[in-house]
Symmetry: C2
Subunit: 324 residues, 2 copies
C-alpha cells in the first residue's frame, strides 16, 4: 500500500462538508485539516483550523480542495493558496475561466505547484462529455440541458425583489425538446424551448402578488426569455418541500457519419445531492493532481489534461484487466 | 494551420471503409493509403496498396489504423506493424487484452513507436464511462447493457448448426431491468435478467424446425443461460429486415454518498451504424496517438492514458473557452 494522499479542505459550507464525507469513501485519501475564516473553536471539530495557520501545513498536505464560491472566494483564494499547495477548485463563472486559468498557471509555474480548476459536473464532467461527443461525432450538434434542480443564481435574483422574503427557482428541461434532440432531427431551440423556470416565492405580508409575479417574469437576463411559472407559498411549505439539493442534466451529442447514418451519445446525471456529487468529483481530481504533480508537472490544468486512468486509485494493470 | 495527420488503413472491411469515410469529416487528417491482402488492382481504388509494400510508407504515414478482426488478425498485425508505425486498434477479446498490451508495449519501446490498443465503444468509450463512474461514485455498482444490436459471435454460432443456412441474433437489454437499475435499488441480476436473445434463422429445405430451435436454446455459453426467441424466416426476409448495423448500449453507475443520497450517472449509445461509430472512435484516437508520440512517449497505451483534450483537433485555449 502506497502512502495516502493528504487532503486539506478550504471552506466549510455544503461543498466542504461534502468533501469531508466523501473522503471517507476513498481508502487512499486522508483528511488532514479544514480551514475556515470563522473562529475554529466555534465549530467544535477536531480538524478545524484558522485560514491564517495554513502555511504551517506546507509539508503535511498534498492537495488543498477549495470549496469557496466562484463570485468572490476562488478568484482570490486559488492563486493565493497555489503559491504553497497543489489545489483543486470548482470555479464555474464560464466567462472568467481563461483569466482564472492564466492567474493560477503563473503562480503554479513560479512556485512549483499544480492546480486543476473548474471541475465538478458543469464545468467538469459535462465538459468532458462535450469534448468526447464533438471529437467522436465531428459532424453534429451538442445539446446541454440542466435540471430538474434549483438554480442558486435565479433564486437569489428573486430574493432581491422588494416584498420577497424567500424563494427557490427550479430549472426544468423540457421533455418534448429532449425527445426532439434524441430523434436526431438536430433542432435549433430558442431559450424558452429548452428550459422551463418554476419559482416558489414567500412574500412579506401585504406584498402585491400580481406586481411581484410580473417583476419576476420580466426580469432581464434571468427570466424574460423563458416561460416562468410563479407559485406563492408559505415559509413552512418552502422549507418542507423545496429545501432538497437534487439536480442533474443531460449532454446529448447527435451526429451523422458520412453515409448520413444517425448516431447518438447521451449522458445523464441524476443527482440526489448536487453538492455531494460535486465534492466527489473534486476528490477524484485531487487524486489525479497529486499523481500528475509527482510526475513533474506544474502550473494550471483542467479536466481536459487528465488521463482518465489517473482518476482511479487502482493500478494500471488492474484497470486494463477489469475495466477496459 | 499545422500539418495534417497522415493516416494509413490496414484492412478494408466494414471498419476500414468506415475509417475511410470518417477521415473526410476531420479536416486535420489525411488518408494516405489503404493496405489489403487482396490484389489491390482488383479493388479499383486509387489509395489501395498491397500489405507487402507497407514498409515503403515508413516516412509518409503518422498512424496506422488497424481494421482487422480480433480473433486472428490483430494479435499478429498490431505487434508486427508497430515495429514501423504508430498504430491504433480495436482489439476486443477481453481476456487476452493484457497479453496483447504486453506484446505491443515491448515492440513499441524497442522501436520508438506508440500504439493504442482496444478502443472503439466497448472496450473503449464504455471503459471510459466505467472508470469515471467508479471513481466519482466509489460506493456503488456499475451496470453495462448492450443492444439492441446484432451479436456477430452469436449469429455465427447459430450458422454452424447443421440445417441452418443463415442467421442473425439480436442482443436486447431488458427494459424492466434498466428501470430497476435507474431506481437506485442496486439489483443483482442473473444473466437472463439483463438481456434477451432474439434470433432470425434461415433453414435448409427439409430441416427440422423443432430440433434446431431446441439446439439453439440449449447451446452452452451462447444461449443456455438466456431467454431466447427463435424466428424462422426466408433468406429474402433476413436480407430485407435484418441486415442493418445498428447497435448501442448503456453504462449506468448508481452510487450513494456518505449520507445515503442516491446519485446516478448514465451513458447511452444509440448507433445507426456500429462499424461507422467504431471507425470514428479509432480516428479520434489516431489523432491523440500522434500528439502523444510527438511528446516523446513510446510503447503501448489504452484509452485510460489519454487526456481528453488530445481527442480534439482544437487548441487548448479554444477548448477551455468554448467547451469547458
Amino acid at each position: 500500500m502506497t502512502e495516502k494522499t493528504k487532503i486539506g479542505i478550504v471552506g466549510y459550507g455544503n461543498l466542504g462538508k461534502g468533501v469531508e464525507l466523501g473522503i471517507e469513501q476513498n481508502d487512499d485519501m486522508e483528511l488532514i485539516a479544514i480551514f475556515t475564516r470563522r473562529d475554529p473553536k466555534s465549530l467544535d471539530h477536531p480538524l478545524m483550523e484558522n485560514m491564517e495557520n495554513m502555511e504551517s501545513y506546507k509539508d503535511k498536505i498534498d492537495v488543498m480542495i477549495l470549496c469557496g464560491g466562484s463570485a468572490t472566494d476562488l478568484p482570490e483564494q486559488t492563486p493565493e493558496i497555489s503559491k504553497i499547495f497543489n489545489t483543486v477548485d470548482s470555479f464555474d463563472t464560464h466567462a472568467n475561466i481563461p483569466d482564472h486559468f492564466a492567474n493560477v498557471d503563473k503562480v503554479g509555474k513560479e512556485n512549483g505547484t499544480l492546480s486543476l480548476i473548474s471541475t465538478g459536473w458543469d464545468p467538469g464532467l459535462f465538459s468532458m462529455y462535450r469534448i468526447m461527443g464533438e471529437s467522436m461525432l465531428p459532424v453534429g450538434n451538442t445539446y446541454t440541458f440542466w435540471g430538474k434542480g434549483v438554480s442558486q443564481g435565479h433564486s437569489d435574483a428573486i430574493r432581491r425583489i422588494d416584498g420577497v422574503l424567500n424563494a427557490k427557482q427550479y430549472t426544468i428541461p423540457i421533455e418534448k425538446s429532449l425527445d426532439r434532440v434524441r430523434s436526431g432531427e438536430n433542432p435549433e431551440f430558442t431559450t424558452k424551448e429548452k428550459h422551463l423556470r418554476v419559482c416558489y416565492v414567500v412574500l412579506e405580508s401585504g406584498a402585491d402578488k400580481a406586481k411581484i409575479e410580473e417583476k419576476i417574469k420580466t426580469m432581464p437576463n434571468y427570466f424574460d426569455e423563458y416561460d416562468t411559472e410563479v407559485n406563492f407559498v408559505s415559509e413552512e411549505e418552502l422549507d418542507k418541500n423545496h429545501s432538497g439539493m437534487s439536480h442533474g442534466g443531460y449532454v446529448i451529442r447527435t451526429g451523422v457519419s458520412q453515409n448520413e447514418t444517425k448516431q447518438r451519445m447521451e449522458f445523464v446525471l441524476d443527482l440526489g445531492s448536487n453538492p455531494e456529487f460535486t465534492s466527489s468529483v473534486l476528490i477524484t481530481y485531487a487524486r489525479a493532481v497529486q499523481k500528475i504533480h509527482e510526475d513533474g508537472k506544474n502550473g494550471c490544468i483542467t479536466v481536459f489534461d487528465v488521463p482518465l486512468g489517473m482518476l482511479s486509485p487502482k493500478p494500471s494493470e488492474e484497470l486494463i484487466k477489469k475495466l477496459l
